[in-house]
Symmetry: C2
Subunit: 541 residues, 2 copies
């Protein structure tokens, strides 16, 4: 549908006539039922419930080719799943580049009645962060699949709750050394910023989620400290910062206290991190009662850390620990998988690969093909669990043996799995990107981050005392990140870079565990590919 997310008219994938989709709010322990009817003309669609474990309902995970078939135009699929843990989540498309096309919304799970959060707040806000291109998601897909490769470029605009400003700035003229004009809003425009109205001397909870297709972000509130208390639906030991990084796929709750001069307003800013920022800072206003919301802050907007000040980012990540009293990880692992991320050229196409295999999703959902033992739905050879020991992660590498693949890492049910994500140099010299990796169906402990190539000796540095539980963790340029999780959720689960064009270019793997324990997968999740054919061949007619 037509919409103007950043004051420039464009087409978005809307839900029930809204963009972003409606916020879904439930209590922990609730069962959520969503009837998704696909009203697109020719495109299939799915929705992934990001951060929800889907324990017992792996078919409701909403990952096309993995947990279900895409829903055809005109058809309805019912997602029915339990939300077992309070926290800040979101939902989004997980097919092609439909997330970039605007298919997303917030999902907030509150504590059951009678239970209390381990921190106090007087009110709360929710900010769903995203990035927006003026080029359609379909054209972006063609770009990424072209030979020679065409990069989609940086987003035109950053959005907060689906609202951004492309041709103007809230702080123009007054503070920003740019030619852009000051924004003028009546207030009811779809791109008018959502102002946060607060009372003095209160504490607010700000829920922040990032469903960006590409951008890593830095959030700050001028003159206010941010106290981080939740990450990806897990409590963290509270710590205070002036600004915070948030990568695609992550969610946080932060507390801030309105202890500043109430006769002024303050900037809330969002800036690009980790890529040379060609996208302007996004702004909105923290409005103190009884000051008018239209009064601009008297100070300039917060200055973001330099885009490539990775030490700043690492310092933030290293501050995140599990809240005291949280469950500790198993002290040993059963299975360790090393995953090297490289940018590769395969037959002249630019791809991302894991241990030199670039993921191409099959036409048949793995959940069905594994459950029903279909032999030809994907490559049953085990994908590589390591990379050559002489591989130099600091240098450009031609990786001449790169291939496409769709194999599955088969995990023993209830085993403890360590994954070491290893970053490396990309195709160009002296380039190594940030990649936030997201695991479906689980939470993992982040045992640590390190520089260069991971070695067995690095294990001594693992934090087994208070590692944070997350569902998304970043690998820094030329570094490694170590994760541990228990493979206790029967199903098939994507584990992938949450940068949507990177996943589209093959940057992901597939884990499966205990699929024999999955109770009957609803047939209507499996109407495509070889599972579809299997039903057809039941010769009822």
């Amino acid at each position: 549908m037509y919409w103007s997310p950043d004051c420039v008219e464009n087409v978005v994938i809307g839900i029930n006539g809204q963009f972003p989709g409606p916020t879904i709010r439930a209590l922990a322990g609730d069962t959520i039922s969503v009837e998704l009817t696909n009203k697109l003309n020719t495109e299939g669609v799915v929705i992934h419930w990001h951060g929800i474990r889907q324990f017992g309902t792996p078919w409701a995970d909403g990952a096309a080719s993995i947990s279900q078939c895409a829903i055809n135009p005109g058809e309805t699929f019912v997602y029915r799943f339990k939300v077992d843990k309070a926290g800040t989540y979101f939902y989004h498309g997980h097919y092609g580049m439909q997330r970039s096309g605007g298919l997303y919304g917030s999902l907030i799970v509150d504590l059951p009645e009678g239970e209390k959060e381990p921190f106090h707040y007087d009110g709360e806000f929710n900010l769903l962060l995203s990035d927006w291109w003026h080029k359609s998601s379909q054209l972006q897909e063609v770009d990424l699949s072209s030979k020679p490769f065409r990069w989609i470029g940086e987003p035109q605009t950053l959005l907060m709750n689906g609202r951004g400003q492309y041709n103007c700035s809230l702080a123009a003229a007054q503070f920003i050394n740019s030619s852009s004009s000051i924004c003028e809003f009546r207030g009811n425009e779809p791109c008018a910023p959502q102002i946060l109205h607060v009372h003095p001397n209160k504490t607010y909870r700000l829920r922040v989620t990032s469903t960006t297709a590409l951008a890593s972000l830095n959030l700050a509130i001028g003159n206010h400290k941010l106290v981080v208390v939740e990450a990806d639906g897990n409590y963290v030991q509270p710590f205070s910062v002036d600004d915070m990084d948030i990568y695609s796929g992550e969610s946080y709750s932060i507390l801030f206290t309105t202890d500043q001069d109430p006769s002024k307003n303050y900037w809330i800013s969002l800036s690009v991190r980790g890529r040379e920022p060609k996208t302007p800072q996004a702004l909105t206003i923290l409005n103190y009662f009884p000051t008018s919301a239209s009064k601009l802050p008297t100070s300039p907007p917060p200055i973001a850390p330099l885009w490539n000040d990775y030490n700043h980012s690492k310092a933030f990540s290293n501050k995140i620990h599990a809240r005291m009293g949280s469950a500790k990880p198993p002290t040993t692992y059963d299975h360790r998988i090393i995953l090297l991320s490289t940018q590769n050229s395969i037959d002249g196409y630019t791809k991302w690969a894991i241990n030199n295999v670039s993921l191409v999703l099959p036409a048949t959902p793995y959940l069905g093909s594994i459950k029903y033992g279909l032999k030809n739905a994907f490559d049953h050879k085990n994908p590589p669990e390591d990379f050559p020991s002489d591989y130099d992660v600091m240098k450009q590498a031609p990786n001449p043996n790169s291939t496409y693949g769709n194999g599955v890492y088969m995990l023993s049910f209830n085993s403890t799995v360590d994954v070491v994500l290893q970053n490396a140099n990309a195709l160009a010299a002296n380039v190594s990107d940030i990649h936030p990796w997201h695991l479906h169906g689980h939470v993992f402990w982040v045992l640590g981050y390190g520089e260069g190539k991971f070695t067995e000796e690095d294990e001594a540095k693992f934090n087994l005392k208070n590692p944070p539980l997350r569902n998304t963790a970043v690998i820094f340029p030329y570094g490694w990140t170590a994760l541990r999780f228990v493979a206790d959720n029967p199903g098939v689960w994507a584990f992938h870079c949450h940068i949507e064009p990177h996943l589209h270019m093959g940057m992901g793997v597939v884990f499966a565990e205990g699929v024999d324990r999955v109770r009957k997968v609803p047939n209507d999740a499996l109407t495509c590919g070889l599972t579809g054919k299997m039903f057809l061949n039941n010769k009822g007619h």
Copy 2:
């Protein structure tokens, strides 16, 4: 894939890396087998074999929601069908606006070895005509479904064999009173015109098909007469004209003789008819041996008839008669259906409707739902076979009782059916468009065209002596067109305006006949909607 159909880079739906798709050539009596693998990212796809009757293979007709489910990304569907009659045909997408997106190609059926055409020619050419928008087909779909309505506008460029020139003209400066510059080509550009190289004093067969999404066209070759010999795969009594109209969905063979000065070249021109032309004339060159192909014609390009000179168009249509000795139509009919075409506003959406019903295609293909007696797949009430006798086709009408519908006209097998297509005033005053109606699965006799509202008395004017056989026939503004066909092809068949946005806006109906005689529909044509669910419920697992 990226392509530059009109010298402006854009994305087209290609086939095997080509645009237009490869020309398929076969002999009458051959069975054609096409394996269509859908390599689009998130869109389904089908291909309709326009003009092929699909006798005995109604599931291979390639009309989404009617003969089959759209083929999912990553999946392959095999179209296997017999081409029983020599002639000039084409193929194209029949889902959403994918035809407008470039999904088309030529299909030429030659006489079997040993058989001879009833006319002589020394060589032949093929011109597949289309129109091209710079806006993607997905955005066009959103436009047409928007409230308030957004018309897609006129095409930017007319294409011959997928080649056109947007920013320049072959005849610029020299002849055309415009600011556009002269085209300069090396010759290997995808938008370089395809030049027709001929020898003097020969006769050539020019096959012409129009797969335009919108434009009605007029074709002329400067200084040369066109002798029409074939229409939609049927021989016609040869007649000679200076220029000819061709509507979307039509195909012709014309003969021309190279009897002009061989030291010159001549223009071949294509112009818009029936809509105020905002799209420049398309040109290519008829190049006489041994003159250089780069030598421009010395005369200006042919001047097209005025866009609204409907008398010129009617005169052409009325010249088309069946070749002497062709089979005559039955002299009486069993069933007459009057179909009034109106433009309607339904809940603020702009639609086209037939007898006040705007077609919305169902999620389940009719061929499956009728074959298997599924009750809830579509509305089983018969759609209206006439319109109120006091309806004034010359005036704007609010049509307050317009509805959406998906009912089927059930035809008795082997009955003779008359269809009278009745045109009317559109929503705006003094507007009545041209609509070329195309029938799947059949040829029909065009019994006549008339002005104003059809009455029983008009029947006396029907041509039962030598009406031409066609699969596409136009209704002129404020007029009617009478067709007769025998419902002898078991299956379900679309009958619709071949202007793609008009069909998308509801301008079509569905005929069904003898579905009980259809042998087993391949299950893989029916994996969606309620037929899909039917297979799932066979509880094999």
